[in-house]
């Protein structure tokens, strides 16, 4: 063994963490990883549970649901059902990564490679993160949000704020602008403008709901414009701007939840890529450390053991199976791209004429920057990988009696398996597509939402009813929801329920 070894034991110390970080940073730089500065924080397992419970936000406003999360994590951790994640990394500038004090030196190095260089460079490079989140201001914004909400609690009572947050959380997935780039967040401006906005908003609302009878002249009645003029998919945004009864502070709270949802939106769309990228790099970086004689054989054995368990994919019929492991899929796809670049087979040349034989670093970098899960899989999932993972697709159609295996990992199936897997990561397919269709501005002020069915999938009745109650709370007047398939209304929900109303009258 050479004298290059950074450490030999499994105990870590701050000096060693620093030494590993420096060594890994040097290799990462050689490979051209572009990262935010790192802020590595060593925490205890209890603090890790806290971080867990707040879904990784370093600062969060207070809400019972985080308490529920915390109790859940605590309970399963104490019973030993679950180990804590090795790491949590926050998309911020500097990029905050947590190391748990219980980890061995090898784990700390692995986490540094994985989070501080893998995830970090992904956050900085991927187009979704670049255009949807502003890493430099998120922490400030969260501080602003926390303070604002606790001020509201003081002013209006915990219950009022809590129930409002409940409603907003129920619609969190419908608080995202899917196509527009949001205005960057800044806590400072946010505070300054917040008052202004309050007044301005309230004025606008009042305008919209002004009901001076004279304005309704007979000839105008016909062409009263529909409101909203186009269906709105950002439900929370619509409520923030147009809900008739919300107080200014309530609008601000809706906005906060919306902004937080927006911040997490890219993460939900790039899970496979993000984890795959981080796994690919920790694998490469740690191996490189070994090649340079900086770590011991024992270190490597321990590393391989954790690495393989992270990327283990149980087969569909295993009792541990719970869907496709994004770490596995991502890691293999990233490695596979490198393979295609370096050692393309005839098959690869046919499927990937553009990248076969190209520079792997440039190709991977390109892939990391310009795709999200859905398009990444559609573009880069190779026949070889489908064979390796033995992917097959099934069709469960309620019009058929049986479940059918539609295609498997063979010549005639590659294309379909790839398309179907890609579609599985399309958020639009996973979440019901619900939009605000119409508001009866001149009438009873009721709001009508439409659910556009995808593949004839209905809405789950019980949860839909519950969510409608939340919408009703935010809107303040009757809420109708129609589930529409081929211009035909298949399901209708109302809040308050129509039957009750009729019986009252």
């Amino acid at each position: 063994m050479s004298n290059n070894l950074i450490s030999t034991g499994s105990e870590w110390s701050f000096e060693l963490v620093e030494a590993y970080d420096t060594a890994i940073a040097a290799i990462a730089e050689e490979f051209g990883l572009d990262t935010y500065p790192n802020q590595i924080e060593v925490i205890s397992s209890e603090q890790m549970m806290d971080a867990y419970a707040s879904t990784g936000m370093p600062i969060g406003y207070q809400h019972w649901s985080y308490g529920k999360q915390f109790l859940n994590v605590e309970q399963s951790y104490k019973r030993g059902q679950m180990g804590l994640a090795y790491e949590i990394v926050i998309n911020s500038d500097p990029c905050i990564a947590y190391l748990m004090e219980e980890n061995t030196m090898m784990m700390q190095a692995l986490v540094i490679a994985h989070a501080c260089y893998g995830h970090n460079s992904f956050f900085k490079g991927n187009y979704l993160f670049r255009s949807w989140t502003d890493a430099s201001s998120i922490i400030d914004y969260l501080v602003f949000a926390k303070n604002y909400i606790s001020k509201c609690e003081e002013k209006y009572g915990v219950d009022a704020v809590e129930s409002l947050l409940d409603s907003c959380h129920a619609l969190m997935n419908y608080g995202v602008d899917r196509y527009k780039r949001p205005y960057p967040l800044s806590a400072h401006e946010e505070k300054e403008r917040q008052k202004e906005r309050e007044e301005y908003l309230q004025k606008q609302i009042n305008d919209l709901w002004r009901t001076i009878p004279k304005e309704l002249e007979p000839e105008n009645i016909k062409d009263i414009e529909r409101f909203p003029s186009e269906p709105q998919e950002n439900i929370l945004y619509f409520f923030e701007k147009h809900s008739p009864l919300l107080e200014p502070w309530q609008r601000e709270v809706v906005r906060i939840v919306r902004k937080v949802a927006q911040y997490f939106y890219p993460q939900r769309q790039t899970q496979v890529m993000n984890e795959g990228w981080a796994c690919f790099w920790h694998h490469l970086l740690i191996n490189e450390l070994y090649n340079r004689g900086q770590v011991t054989d024992g270190f490597m054995l321990e590393f391989m053991q954790s690495h393989t368990s992270v990327i283990y994919q149980p087969p569909y019929n295993s009792e541990y199976f719970s869907g496709i492991n994004p770490y596995t899929l991502g890691f293999h796809m990233m490695s596979d791209i490198r393979r295609i670049c370096e050692e393309p087979t005839a098959e690869d040349k046919k499927w990937f004429p553009d990248i076969a034989g190209s520079n792997w670093q440039e190709t991977l970098d390109f892939a990391m920057r310009n795709f999200k899960d859905e398009s990444f899989i559609l573009q880069f999932l190779s026949p070889k990988l489908m064979r390796d993972l033995k992917l097959f697709s099934i069709l469960d159609d309620d019009e058929n009696q049986n479940i059918e295996v539609t295609s498997i990992h063979d010549e005639s199936g590659y294309q379909e398996v790839r398309e179907l897997l890609s579609a599985q990561y399309n958020l639009g397919n996973r979440e019901p597509n619900i939009q605000i269709h119409n508001v009866d501005v001149r009438g009873d002020r009721s709001i009508t939402l439409h659910h556009y069915r995808f593949n004839r999938k209905p809405l789950e009745v019980n949860s839909t009813r519950e969510v409608l109650k939340h919408i009703h709370r935010l809107w303040g007047f009757d809420v109708h929801l129609h589930s529409i398939d081929d211009n035909e209304t298949k399901q209708s929900f109302h809040c308050p329920p129509i039957e009750d109303k009729q019986s009252q009258e």
């Binding site: 924080e41 603090q47 994919q313 697709s393 979440e431």
Partner: protein, 424 residues
């Protein structure tokens, strides 16, 4: 570039508030779980926390999800047997390969219990919520054995350990200013005079100037001699003793250990005493317990003996009441103690002893007691003692209670009845 920060010393309990919010929101559920738990627990357990489980559907946070049905496709790994076109039965029970992934199981079949742990403190909070000790009149009785030091401003005397440096230096400073003010004025005047003379081309050796210089020297010297810190500059922080009112209680546990009391009855009694003890402990800073057991004669014993040693014999309840009165007179003057009595019995008593009990209680004890509770653990009709106590109940409706208990599981409800917060 990386910064490495040790955050381990930061606060750990970031989630505490959120956790409390959760407990607050599901108060009703938890209370029910606590009530259930008390029945199931063994007595020695009451000092622990409790595992609480709440139906999962009650705490679900709903979002829009797809229901089962429609056309679902799904890609799965690990194909070991299928080729394209294979058909298979749809698994029963919805869920499973429902296609929409996690969504379906969140709202569909995922109705597991939500289980979590609460601490002993919280457990007791929920256990004794809405309960209240009756007749808290004497609660704030001051025992005068305890004092608390409180700040009481600044004084001129004190021990060196309590010197207030800022105040001392401030007063030294003002003293110096006051004592030297005139001299410094003179000094200034002299200096400007010298300066003026020098400007008029007087040399420094000129006698007028040198005399002035001498005066300046003298003044400077005088100013310098004013001490920088003097004895009477010293200021001390003053602390005074405040008596702390203490509330304390003594609880008398009276139990019949005669032959008729079997093991199970005693066990039931013990649980009741334990609940009462925990409850008193939460209401008073200091709670003492006196155990008195009796058959035909009464004896003060320790806890171990009270619950576990066996004796047989007849039953004379008044002997215990006698002893209780003696102990009160001897050790717990009612002016200083909140006194609670709890008696458990199976209701047996010598016929003519009941009237003695009545006399004892009404003439001697009741005036000294905050509260006396009697539980009769029997499935039979009320005995002589029961009837006698009923008379007392009529006379002291607010200080006396009695309940009949049949099973261990009745204890908590009965206990709650006894101490239920009365809405004024």
């Amino acid at each position: 570039m990386s910064y490495i920060i040790d955050r381990r010393l930061n606060t750990k309990k970031k989630s505490t508030v959120n956790r409390q919010r959760f407990l607050r929101r599901y108060r009703q559920h938890i209370k029910k779980a606590v009530a259930d738990a008390i029945d199931k627990r063994s007595i020695t357990d009451v000092k622990q926390g409790e595992k609480i489980s709440i139906p999962g559907k009650d705490i679900e946070e709903y979002t829009f999800t797809h229901g089962s049905g429609g056309r679902n496709t799904r890609v799965l790994p690990g194909n070991d047997q299928f080729i394209a076109g294979d058909q298979m039965r749809r698994p029963k029970g919805g869920g499973g390969s429902g296609g929409s992934g996690n969504g379906a199981s969140d709202s569909g079949e995922g109705m597991d219990e939500f289980v979590f742990q609460i601490s002993q403190e919280e457990f007791l909070d929920f256990m004794f919520e809405d309960l209240e000790l009756p007749n808290l009149v004497k609660r704030q009785l001051a025992g005068n054995e305890d004092f608390e030091m409180k700040r009481a401003g600044i004084s001129n005397e004190g021990s060196p350990g309590k010197v207030n440096i800022i105040r001392s230096l401030r007063s030294a400073n003002s003293r110096r200013i006051a004592l030297t003010g005139r001299k410094r004025k003179q000094l200034k005047a002299l200096e400007s005079e010298i300066a003026a003379l020098l400007l008029q081309n007087y040399s420094e050796e000129d006698p007028i100037v040198s005399e002035l210089m001498e005066q300046v020297q003298v003044l400077r010297h005088k100013i310098k001699r004013v001490p920088w810190l003097d004895d009477f500059d010293l200021k001390y922080n003053l602390h005074v003793k405040h008596p702390v009112p203490r509330s304390r209680a003594v609880m008398f546990c009276l139990m019949d250990v005669s032959g008729s009391m079997d093991r199970q009855t005693k066990d039931t009694a013990k649980r009741f005493f334990l609940l009462l003890y925990l409850f008193l402990q939460r209401n008073y800073e200091k709670t003492e317990v006196v155990f008195i057991r009796h058959h035909t004669s009464a004896k003060e014993v320790d806890e171990e003996e009270f619950f576990y040693s066996r004796e047989t014999g007849g039953t004379i309840v008044s002997s215990a009441l006698h002893l209780m009165d003696e102990v009160i007179t001897e050790r717990y003057p009612p002016s200083q103690w909140n006194i609670y009595g709890a008696q458990a019995s199976d209701g047996d008593n010598w016929e003519d002893d009941s009237s003695i009990c009545y006399d004892l209680l009404t003439n001697k004890l009741m005036s000294k007691l905050q509260y006396f509770s009697y539980i009769e653990i029997t499935s039979r009709e009320g005995q002589a003692l029961w009837h006698t106590y009923q008379k007392i109940l009529e006379e002291y409706p607010s200080n006396f209670t009695m309940k009949n208990l049949q099973h261990a599981r009745d204890i908590y409800p009965v206990f709650r009845q006894l101490f239920h917060k009365k809405v004024a």
